[in-house]
Amino acid sequence: MRSAQQTMALVERSIKRRRRAESRFRWYGRLAVFLGIFFVVVLFANIIGKGYGSFRQSYIRLEVGYDPALVEPDGSASAQSLAQGDYQAVARAALRALFPEVEGRANLKQLDALLSDDAGYALQKRVTNDPGLVGKTESVWVLARDNTDMAMKGRITRAENEEGRPLSDRQLDWIEALKAKGLLELRFNSGFFTNGDSREPEQAGIRGAVAGSLFTLLITLLLSFPIGVAAAIYLEEFAKRSRWTDLIEVNINNLAAVPSIVFGLLGLAVFINIFGLPRSAPLVGGLVLTLMTLPTIIIASRAAIKAVPPSIREAALGIGASSMQVVTHHVLPLALPGMLTGTIIGMARALGETAPLLMIGMVAFVVNVPGGFTDPATALPVQVYLWADSPERAFVERTSGAIMVLLAFLLVMNGAAVFLRQRLERRW
């Protein structure tokens, strides 16, 4: 037998050991949390640092004279004649007027390259809206080309070798001159939110992709929420446990882990090849993402239903409610917050999904903003992928800008999930 003192000494020693282990474990935990936060901060800093510029765009202020000879080539002021005018030439003439000393075809071409092709379209739109402008002069801000914009944002500088950079020394001189006169400045880039995709970075916007994503997600939500909830209710409340329900359960859990590109292949094979649905359409994208989201929603909904205490069901059954009434009056209202949270998280995943959409052709270059479920469209993450693949320097900025918009959507959706959970959760 040990004496009480010996026991005390042993305990003391083991206590020290336990304390050390505990504090060590605490530090591991802190380190892990710190690393996590560190990487998130690095990621966000990187994306925001690269992408914030995409919300501002360079515009050049021109004194535009709508020369009738250029605007209406056949001399009549008809709409048809106005539509055939060379408005880009009007813009070019206005820019050349600012630098009368520039001569020679090659030099003029360099000067013209500061302007975006969009300048001509913008002027044409103005004249079409107000034919009275023909023959008059007005001051207009028009879009500058992507390289001009990059120089304005300090991403093309003289520090680079002239051979290797997209702008010549002379072009940089003109840009500086324009800037000094206040005729070239960065303004809010509304085009980024209102334009569809474009080969020209300065004209490219995310509206088409956002619309495509919304149509796709709408299909996904409308299909996956009711189907998922109905499946969960049936499996939890009505189906008797048998080999079949076990099999279904295992398969649902497996489906949740299937790589998303496999769902894309399935969508291609079934929806497009067998059912003949249009390619590149939000309808098909939505169907594919529904397949992908269903397991998530079913699993979350079943967990929410399981969390409803059995005593509530017994209480309702005990006073003579039918099984259907138990579900609709008691189980569903109590499980709904959990179901909604699961659905929103599933939707957020679907919003960020790229791979299956590549398989069904939603990776096409689509300029028009889609107007319906069967129009060709892309989605936001696919747009990110497309832009990241483009060689122009200005697309780097656009890519990060699109990622910021995508992340904003995801944060809002996850925030909504948290809010719903806290708001609707009832205690019993």
Partner: protein, 296 residues
């Protein structure tokens, strides 16, 4: 062994009422193997519910063995016995709450006013409206007090309009002895009440449907003695209108509230009889051992 006169009376259902002499060897230790016949008289005149040779199985487990018992009108029957003896299982057979348990199989006849409640034509919804149940743990819906009581009448269409429903809610709460305490906060959640109040709310919810029989599964086991006393008083008052079957672990409670007592042991109904006789003069050794606290 004392044999009561009552137990010698011939019984409607054959020899069920015959006294049963406990074998000398029957003790608390080898009780499991003895095939049992119930001592005392299981039948009553004009029963509202009647169970004959009821057997319940949970999968392979034989939970209730050949139990026969009648429930009289305006009477409280207490079911006592050690944990796991099947008294709750038997209680839940009476309004088919066992239907919700998978693997549970019920054999035998249980009738309500002469009608077989396990008949294929019997609608469980209707049965449970006639045979209400109050559970061990108070389980009000996470809704307002008013909604808790109004739910049953609403789904069964018992009130024609709002005024009638209001009245029904009020009388039910009054009968459950809860009206005075909650009349000013009917719109507050039922889950915000104290445990005893919640249980009385559950009783109000049950009687709002106006059942003929009320089953109570250890209704006081989660309550303090004062709340329990209130429920006991309530049970005594309700006896005027309903037949009540109560499962309890508390023998004093059984003695206080019931007119007849049934003692269950490992799925067998060992003994049935008037409560005062069971507690003063049990026919069976097992019953005596249990009520004197030798095991249980």
């Amino acid at each position: 062994m004392v044999i009561e006169i009552e137990t010698l009376r011939p019984d409607l259902s054959g020899n069920l009422g015959e006294p049963m002499t406990a074998p000398e060897s029957l003790t608390a230790t080898d009780k499991t193997t003895v095939a049992h016949k119930t001592a005392g008289r299981v039948s009553v005149d004009d029963p509202i519910m009647s169970a004959r040779q009821v057997n319940v199985y949970y999968g392979d487990k034989h939970a209730i063995k050949d139990v026969s018992l009648d429930i009289a009108r305006n009477e409280v029957v207490a079911m006592i016995g050690p944990s796991g003896c099947g008294k709750s299982t038997f209680l839940r057979c009476l309004n088919r709450m066992n239907d919700t348990i998978e693997n549970c199989r019920v054999a035998g006849d249980i009738t309500l006013d002469g009608q077989d409640i396990y008949d294929r034509k019997q609608d469980v919804v209707q049965l449970r409206a006639r045979v209400g149940i109050v559970f061990q743990k108070p389980n009000p819906f996470p809704k307002s007090i008013y909604e808790n009581v109004a739910y049953g009448p609403r789904i069964h269409g018992l009130a024609a309009d709002r005024v009638e429903l209001d009245e029904l809610v009020q009388t039910s709460l009054q009968r459950a002895g809860l009206w005075e305490e909650v009349k000013d906060r009917l719109n507050q959640p039922g889950t915000g009440l104290s445990g005893g109040q919640q249980q009385r709310l559950c009783i109000a919810r049950t009687i709002a449907v106006n059942p003929e029989v009320i089953l109570m599964d250890e209704p006081c086991s989660a309550l303090d003695p004062i709340a329990s006393a209130k429920i006991e008083d309530l049970i005594d008052e309700l006896r005027g209108n309903y037949a009540i079957v109560i499962v309890t672990h508390n023998m004093q409670q059984a003695a206080r509230v019931s007119q007849r007592t049934a003692y269950f042991h490992l799925g067998d109904l060992i003994e049935v009889g008037p409560t005062d006789r069971i507690f003063t003069n049990p026919l069976q050794r097992l019953t005596e051992d249990y009520i004197t606290g030798r095991f249980g």
